[in-house]
Symmetry: C2
Subunit: 527 residues, 2 copies
């Protein structure tokens, strides 16, 4: 049941005076529930509870954390159609997408449950003492990852489940042993509250300390700002715009004690079309990219916003076919009138640049909040000059950059900002011939794709979802997959600690049977 | 031979007009060599060369990097007495210390050589494709760590070899595949130049690209500022004061593209004296700590600057014995008149606080630049009130905090800033009884020591040298040990990449026979 209240730990609370509603972009009307924005006192209470909960939660066993994470997954499924219906009414997305994203969310929670239950993720390392060493004895040192403290998670507009309330950031933080305070996304506050209720129920049922999870409603930027500046908050996870992510990063960097902010932000996901590969399959690539550009109404962080090619008849034909493909796809509803408005504004701003020419525009009548997909083209030299064209237009819009030659193509790639992904359309011969192009692209991205599309982010250990700034604020981490837990932990060493008082992970007997680096060798054995 | 010039890649250069000399604190006179500070053009040239070198260096095999790192170690040893003599003349430290630190430096370089030669450090992860999966096929994803780009390393005043020119930060960055530009420490510019010449020779002899290493002289803050703000610099390693490290962190955070700064900064390394353990061995602990506080004239980042106990006769006696021990130790020479001056100033400022009372002060005549060690005490409540007493006094000076009871002791610990280390003097019964004290201490430090001293930082995989701010700017990393390489790498994923064009680390055949996570299982096998 949606109450419109905040979850301050296990308690529902609505002390603030500011209220707001969510919006159904399909029917173009506000949804009924009234949400109460968290007051300053409520925010402080949530953070204080989290700091208190951390004292117990940071040493809870992996097995218990796994029970908690699995209970969250089960409780989310228990929400049934109420969750799916709310999701659809707050996003305009179809039920199939809601189900798919719920599946991904549950899968992430269970994957982290498996990870912490097995326990080897702590990267235990043991160097045993050498008392007889000269000139000084070698002490016994044992290291493992421990949680850094309460984490604030900002829900993403475009993934109400998988990247929001109990999404990847939250699952990773809880798995690490960090309490989480969610800054709920205002566009899907009802979905958020339902998921939050599932997390709270799971926490109570599995005896987690009160405050291990809170969910704060917020319609503007104040709640988030207050959270990021709170001295007891020790890390931030964010998925959203460059402007929003950078603002939080700057706030965190200015704190007396700076804290890590992992913000996954904008990306235009360049696709490099090499001539031979393109020529061989113009129709196929045009069809594939018409779909990829418009998938989910272009509202994915890995949407291909930039197609880079070398001027040729084949490229001309590809542009024509892609344009044709794009205008024949049915427009989709965007997540919210504000997102639709931003899309129209940013698309118009891009198209107002004299260097850019429109090659495809869906001109038929569309329903309110439905996005008209579009495709434009620009010369390489002009693209290099006009940095405004390097900015993301969130939605079903792409630009084809027509380079004079390989040299210009390499220059364009090297001048791109950091990206989540880079894609190569390439044949085997070109993989050798265009090595410098490929290397230049690798240096700008977190993931490189061979003859495919950037949309679709597989949840698996080998995924990197991140990349050089501004794809993320710290390229040394990924936001997706089990290794995203590394964002929320720090190494910690025990020196000469009595064996029976060490954490299970570091005891001689290796009771958890985890993989450990013992005197330089990886082993599951006891010492 | 010392020329006083900068190493801009493989070339010596002295275009700047600003010059300076180093100083011998033992003889209290300037050393003879004149060093030329790097000009803006020289800085830019070094960074541009590094960015160019990165194109080749980032894909050089681990085997070749190992050859380079070992050659650096050999070339440093080849410098022979010239290096040791210069070291001593620029630091006032004894030759034995110079030899010990050289050994540590060479050991670090060789350890990183072994690490990258073996190759498993890249944390390779492979998830093979499932083309038949529904609703969408699973792509083939393969991930490994790759270098982030040119790194600026700031030499430390107190470790001219192990934490400077070719010290831990540089060794880790080169091992990762990142070119290094060293901002040489002005106090030991000659030592720095000699080591730089060894690195450059090693690079030439092992065919490394020009620009993989540069060494820039600098007497003030401008060279460092310019380096950290340079768009082609991608990371910063620093060891030194909180003020210096924070200034660099702030500069890096304000860049258009923020970059990671790992600054290892101040620490007062609290030692908690629990009553029973102390009572049993008052003489022993007093003697041990008199030595630890004055070791290396207190010029270690792990120097125990704070001793925390509960008021008792035993604590009074410990203070008396410790004071007695301290004043009977021969004073040592500090690294530089400026460091000596700062010690005297900071010690006086601390002692000027009315809450603090001096309990030991070496009052005999000392040679110029020799530090008078001192010990002071303060009540717990006063320490909690007066935050200036929480600040590091770099040198042989410690404060004993006398708490009223366990509760006050826990409060004092919880109010401490982040620390590199925390030490417990404790008996087995107290390990159980004082769990909340121990947990509070763990939450403030990077390494916790059982019945020992914080001085002495073992170089081994299980070491954490870092900790919550301000011990470091990012507690998620260590500055010492093989895992310090993680500061300079990022995960990178290949999707559906042709097997024969993958890096060796990710090929099906596993030609390097490294440990990889393949479909969720760690294995050295091929696929």
């Amino acid at each position: 049941m949606i109450t419109g209240k905040n979850h301050i730990g296990n308690r529902l609370s609505a002390l603030g005076s500011k209220t707001y509603k969510t919006f159904n972009p399909q029917s173009n009307i506000e949804n009924g529930h009234v949400f109460s924005e968290a007051s300053k006192d409520e925010i402080d209470e949530a953070v204080n509870l989290a700091a208190e909960a951390f004292k117990a939660f940071r040493t809870i066993s992996g097995v218990k954390k796994a029970v908690f994470l699995r209970a969250i997954a089960d409780e989310i499924l228990n929400l049934g159609d109420a969750l799916l219906d709310t999701y659809c009414s707050e996003t305009g997305l179809p039920k199939g997408r809601a189900e798919g994203e719920r599946g991904r969310t549950v899968f992430q929670l269970r994957t982290f449950a498996d990870l912490v239950e097995k326990g080897s993720w702590v990267e235990a390392s043991i160097d045993t003492a050498i008392p007889e060493r000269t000139p000084v004895p070698k002490p016994d040192l044992r290291k493992m990852s421990i949680p850094i403290g309460p984490i604030v998670v900002f829900g993403a507009s475009n993934f109400p489940l998988a990247y929001s309330t109990a999404g990847g950031d939250t699952a990773a933080a809880l798995a690490a042993g960090c309490p989480v305070i969610v800054k709920s996304h205002p566009m899907h506050a009802g979905t958020g509250e339902l998921v939050a209720s599932a997390v709270v129920r799971a926490g109570q049922d599995t005896d987690m300390p009160n405050g291990v999870f809170s969910n704060l409603n917020s319609s503007g930027i104040e709640v988030g700002q207050h959270l990021v500046q709170h001295p007891k908050v020790k890390g931030v996870g964010f998925t959203g715009s460059i402007r929003g992510g950078r603002a939080l990063y700057d706030l965190a960097a200015k704190r007396q004690e700076p804290i890590p902010v992992f913000a996954e932000m904008g990306s235009i996901n360049p696709v490099v079309l090499l001539p031979e590969a393109l020529k061989k399959n113009i129709d196929g690539w045009a069809e594939t990219y018409a779909k990829s550009i418009t998938l989910g109404t272009g509202q994915f962080c890995t949407n291909p916003g930039l197609l880079l090619g070398i001027k040729s008849d084949a490229l001309d034909e590809f542009i024509k076919k892609l344009a044709d493909g794009i205008v024949h796809i049915e427009p989709g509803c965007m997540l919210h009138p504000n997102i639709f408005g931003a899309y129209e504004k940013n698309k118009s701003r891009a198209l107002a640049q004299s260097e850019l020419s429109l090659v495809a525009d869906f001109e038929n009548h569309v329903t309110t909040n439905y996005a008209r997909q579009a495709l434009a083209k620009v010369d390489g030299a002009d693209f290099l000059e006009n940095l405004s064209l390097h900015q993301e237009v969130f939605g079903p819009f792409s630009i084809v950059v027509q380079c004079e030659d390989v040299k210009e193509l390499e220059l364009v790639i090297s001048k791109l900002e950091g990206q989540l992904t880079g894609t190569l359309i390439v044949d085997n011969k070109e993989m050798i011939e265009y090595q410098s192009i490929i290397e230049a692209l690798k240096n700008r991205v977190g993931r490189i794709i061979f003859n495919g599309v950037p949309t679709g982010v597989e949840v698996c250990p080998s995924m990197t979802h991140g990349g050089p700034y501004p794809a993320s604020t710290d390229s040394r981490f990924t936001a997706v997959g089990i290794h995203s837990i590394k964002r929320w932990v720090r190494p910690f060493s025990f020196q000469d600690w009595p064996n029976d008082l060490l954490p299970e992970e570091l005891k001689n007997e290796n009771p958890l049977k985890i993989k450990r680096l013992v005197n330089g060798e990886w082993t599951n054995n006891k010492i």
